[in-house]
Structure formats: structure tokens, C-alpha cells
Amino acid sequence: MAAILTDDELIRQAQAGRQSAYSALVRRYEQYAFTLAYRFVKNREDAHEVAQDAFLRAFRYLPEFRGDSKFSTWFYRIVYSTSLNFLRKQHPEIHSLDDENRPLKILDNSGNDASHALETEERNVAVHQAIQQLSSDDAGIITLFYLYEQSLEEICQIMGLSMSNAKTKLCRARQRLKGVMTAGVEY
């Protein structure tokens, strides 16, 4: 049975030009890249395009990757910047994904009362639905911190934020998530 190669081993092989290593990296990270892109661009078709572009960009610069950070952190940064570039092309008025000032829209959410979401399964579904209603920035930072288990320092590297800014953004994203879950607030 073939041993599972680590990211570092795969990167070394890819840097040496082995195509199978590139392919293994794509298969290992396709769900991560796609999920993160989907959180940012909020559309499956666009997320496919962004994730593919991110892989191609990462491969182009892979010979320059020296392992100063984890490969995942480096790669998520590329996914983030590719998503941001994509959104800027679609909406030239976007300067950042930070939607702090976006007006709130109250939904008729009678069928999604948070009081029903007490059981674990229901809560998981409610959180999943709520995160899809969050802004790109909020959904992105929550996904990176909780699902991808990136530390705040790594999130700073990925999103180009200062430590205090990242902490504030995470805090606000959690508040908005709670707002969406309890009051049906859409951003």
C-alpha cells in the first residue's frame, strides 16, 4: 500500500516537475479551495472558476515557495486574493470584502426560528444556512478560523490584516452569525 505523502514531500516533488504531485495536491485541496471560494463569491459556478484560477496561480508560484509558512496558509491566501480579484472585476466598486457598513435587511424568517435549532443536528443545519447568508468577509473569516482551524496569526497572513483587526473582524463575524441565527438578519 502506498504511503500518504505529506504536503512538504508533495511540494518537493512538484517543484522537481512531477505531474503526479501536482495532481495529488489538487485532489487534497480541492474541497478546501472550493469551499473557501464559495464562501467568498457565493455562487457555485464562480467558485469553480476562482478555485481553478487559485490552483493555477499557486502552481505558477510553487517553485518560489520556500516553506516560510504552512502550504495551506500560503494557498488559502492565494484563494482569498483570487476571490477578491474576481469580485472586484464583477463589482468594480468593491474595495474590500469587509461589509461592516452594509445595511441590514430583516427577513421573514418564521420558519427558521432559532428556538427550534436546539438539537445538535438542527443547530448544525442552522449554522450552515446562517453562514451562507453572511457577507463574504464574515463567512470567510469564520470558515478559516473554525472549519480550517487556522490560527489568528495565519488568518492575518491570509487576509493581510493586523492582529487586532483580525480579532475584531472575527468577533463581529460571530455577532452577525448569531444575529442571522436568532433574528433572521441578512447581510
Partner: protein, 170 residues
């Protein structure tokens, strides 16, 4: 314990996420011990955090990885083709400039007076004079020279920006 201590939800989230300093962590833990009724809030936050940790991944369409690899292979092929094609413009300019500089050096070497050897003036052939000042003052030469310098400058700027972008992605 400070009587004015207010345990906010944000603080509880940071406590659950391990983002508090040791001092703050101890403060919150002590407060929770003294006020067990707030444990319910912490439990609710931990349940929500657990749901976030267990969010499902979005799955790309079938064949996504194959499409990425096909694009990558195609891109590699085009890069290899481009590498084989020499950058003839830059090479030509480099050659012209090199010849220009070498020509100057050769002229100085051949026209320089020899200090040690005395040659009868009758044997010294008449040095053909060339009006270099006229060449340098010629507007065509001046603008051509500036154009070439500008082109080389832009090439260097382009290389620098490419390198900078690579470094930014590290």
C-alpha cells in the same frame, strides 16, 4: 474579583476559542466558578462553536480536479513553447549596445598615443578624423538612444515587478 467585571458574550467566545490572555482567562474562569448560572451561556457558545467546527465542506463538481490538471498541463506546454522562442528584440538591442561600447574601446586603444615608443613623424600615417561631436549632436541619434534607454528601463521595471509579485506570494 473586581465587582465591576462584566462577562460579555464576546469574552466568552474568546474564552472558548482560547484567544484570551492568561490573566483574562483566569478572570473569566474565576467569575464562572462564582456565578455558575453563566455556565449555561458558555455551554451554548461551545455548542455553536462545535457546529462551526463541523460545518460540511462544499463539494466541487465531479471532474473538477481533472479540469484543473488539464489547464495546468496546457499552460505548461505553452510556457515551454514560449521559453524556446528567444527574446530577439532584447537580444538585438544588447548586441548593438555591446558593439557600440566595444567599438569605442577599440577606437581609444588604437588611437591612444604610445608613451614609450618614439616613431618618426614621417612614419605616422595621418589619422583619419571623425567628427564624433556631430554624431552625438545629431537629433536622430539622440532620440534613438533615448528610446533604447527607455525600452531597457521598462524591461528592467517589468522584471522587477514580476519578481516583487512572486515575493509577495511567498
Amino acid at each position: 474579583m473586581n465587582n465591576h467585571f462584566l462577562l460579555t458574550d464576546d469574552m466568552l467566545w474568546d474564552y472558548a476559542d482560547g484567544l484570551l490572555s492568561d490573566k483574562e482567562k483566569a478572570q473569566v474562569a474565576a467569575y464562572l466558578q462564582q456565578h455558575p448560572e453563566h455556565q449555561v451561556r458558555l455551554k451554548a457558545i461551545e455548542a455553536e462553536k462545535n457546529a462551526l467546527l463541523n460545518l460540511p465542506f462544499e463539494k466541487p463538481n465531479k471532474g473538477f480536479a481533472d479540469r484543473v490538471m488539464a489547464s495546468w498541463v496546457a499552460e505548461q506546454a505553452s510556457v515551454r513553447a514560449a521559453v524556446r522562442k528567444p527574446d530577439w528584440i532584447l537580444s538585438s538591442i544588447t548586441i548593438v549596445f555591446s558593439l557600440f561600447i566595444l567599438g569605442f574601446l577599440a577606437l581609444f586603444m588604437f588611437l591612444a598615443p604610445g608613451a614609450a615608443v618614439e616613431i618618426p613623424t614621417s612614419l605616422i600615417p595621418e589619422i583619419p578624423s571623425f567628427d564624433w561631436a556631430a554624431v552625438f549632436q545629431n537629433q536622430g541619434f539622440y532620440y534613438g538612444f533615448m528610446l533604447i534607454l527607455a525600452y531597457l528601463g521598462l524591461q528592467i521595471l517589468d522584471k522587477y515587478l514580476q519578481q516583487k509579485r512572486r515575493l509577495d506570494l511567498r
